[in-house]
Amino acid sequence: MNPDASQGAAAEEDLVQLVAPDGRRTDGEQAAAYRDRAAHLGTDELRAMYRDMVLTRRFDDESTALQRQGELGLYPQGRGQEAAQVGSGHALHPQDFVFPSYREHGVLQVRGVDPVDRLRIYRGTEHGGWDPADHNVHLNTLVLGSQTLHATGYALGVQRDGLVGTGDPQRDTAVVTYFGDGASSQGDVNEALVFAAVNNAPVVFFCQNNQWAISEPTSRQTRVPLYKRGEGFGIPGVRVDGNDVLASYAVMAEALERARTGGGPTFVEAYTYRMGAHTTSDDPTRYRERAEEEEWALRDPIDRLAALLRAEDRWDDAWAADVEAQADSLAERLRADLRALEDPASTSMFEHVYATPHSQVEAERAWFEAYEHDTAQDERDSSREAAR
């Protein structure tokens, strides 16, 4: 289904998969090394992942609806990528730090970033939305790939702080940066690989290959599977089935541990699919086939985990109903709280340009306040009003 046939073939071959689309655990050689990483996950953990995936999807659906209703200017859907995001997110330790791109709703869910905060940017009330220090999650970065350098620098800081390889799992710290198949072509991502490799930085490059960069298939970005990208920089790579939450967890757990213990960076390619449009402004019918979408629908990550839970008798209808109820109340709260968000004051645009006073900003702010004041008072004649 990937337009580049050679990649499609490689995809199946090299893929780390622990759970097949039908919910059964795989027993292939390929994944043997990772099976242990997920072995300790019991019913509680698996259910927690399931819950996060369901809540992420509900958040996604509700946000899409809110955009249609005019409550958001735009929204980039994550549907289809929940396993890659929630699985990798569950492998994080609290002290780890995340540098997302803009589609990582599942990671934000796992890290506890408030759902309303996640939408401020799309409502047009903030460029950010939360304090990165609150959940060790940096803000969204919209300039493709830039954040991979920030993550690498942050990881160099962690290293300087002496928080790599101390042997204390509560202190050893890793950094992860998320980016897409499209972003992988940016110079910045490649420079990040250079800086990370040369310094053996504790950073994981988590590339979600969702097959598309808006209308461009991954074959427009690379002619070999993306997980190989790091090798020429000295960074080991692994391709994981990004629709398999267990595999995503296991591969990420290993990569994070390598980083925390001083083993250096890893390049993870999560092979997945963007089931929705690029954003609510996009129209995928212009560039991709319905058949492709349908084929990927059969690999839905939530269905797969549900099937596993059922197959292993970890499913419970009452629990599942409760998860649905939680999703309902998340949606309800989101609607209410989002609508209740106040628009920022116009003068807030002058705040935080600098941390210290800057005469240009201050002069313009003063002018603006006086102007606003005058305008409010002003009784202009009607012809002028009419022209506005």
């Binding site: 200017g73 735009l74 940017i121 799309y122 409502r123 047009g124 009330t125 903030e126 460029h127 919209l142 300039v143 493709l144 499209g182 972003a183 072509s185 940016q186 110079g187 910045d188 960069a213 808006i214 209308s215 461009e216 427009r220 970005q221 402004s281 996009d282 212009r286 560039y287 628009d343 920022p344 004051a345 116009s346 807030s348 645009m349 002058f350 340009v353 800057h358 240009q360 900003v361 313009e364 702010r365 603006f368 102007y371 606003e372 005058d374 305008t375 004649d381 012809s383 002028r384 009419a386 022209a387 506005r388």
Partner: protein
Amino acid sequence: MSTQTMTFAKALTAGLRASLEADDHVMIMGEDVGRLGGVFRITDGLQKDFGEHRVVDTPLAESGIVGTAIGLAMRGYRPICEIQFDGFVFPAYDQITTQLAKLHYRSRGAIRLPVVVRIPYGGGIGAIEHHSESPEALFAHTPGLRVVSPATPQDAYDMIRAAVVSPDPVLFFEPKGRYWSKGEVDLDSPVATATSDGGTPDPLGQARIARAGTDVTLVAYGPTVATALSAADALAAEGTSAEVVDLRSLSPMDVPAVVDSVRRTGRCVVVHEAPTFFGAGAELAARVTEECFYSLEAPVLRVGGFHTPYPVAKIEHDYLPSTDRVLDAVDRALAH
């Protein structure tokens, strides 16, 4: 004469189509310009009609887009690069500033780089960060680049064709907030070609009098020409006659046209969306003052963005120069 009413966006598409038709070596390259037709659909249908060879979806790397366009131009092609949004031109900034702008000079004319870089710019569309900026001054300061911005559908059609035939690199700033505005377009208008002997006027360097007037000169370009015209309407109703000059080009800047107007009106207000601090209005004010020192009744006033990053969508209309803010400036100019 085949004059049609069409949107600014469609006029651009028509101009690109005409350029592709006129010269086999013209090609379009960028992110999503193919099947999707670009996020603004400016290249809509062009890949279908001209082939994947002429309208090329590139990897997602702006430096790569402009850098390979330079190589293609050296080989005789005329690439038109699309940058998806204003805020994403910066990864290509080095290639534009140190290579695209300078290779003709470096080679003492041996290398010509007829590359057009199309950049949808400006705000007012309710977008998220990096999607509403006006970085034109960051290019106009660099010798070797032409920097232009059309304000009407006719100019969109004429100027894109002129940019494509220009032997110099052109940064082509498209006021995205005007994409859906309509106007008459004469599709048979000739392609304005610059001549290198200096005999004919430079088609990408001449301002346009968008409205004649006598009491004050309003200077604008791209998205703010409409703002200036609406202010002129309001002023007319009050008995003040405003002349509106559409600069069209920032580099070169048609200072004589503005000077000519200001010598008559004695007052000048310049309007753009970019922050005024170090913006195009500064250059214009400095020049106009120098050349109209004894005719100016008031200092040249600037209406523009503030010295803040482009703000969030909910308050962008307080940031953007509005008709009201232009009127306020005119009031201040007239009060002098």
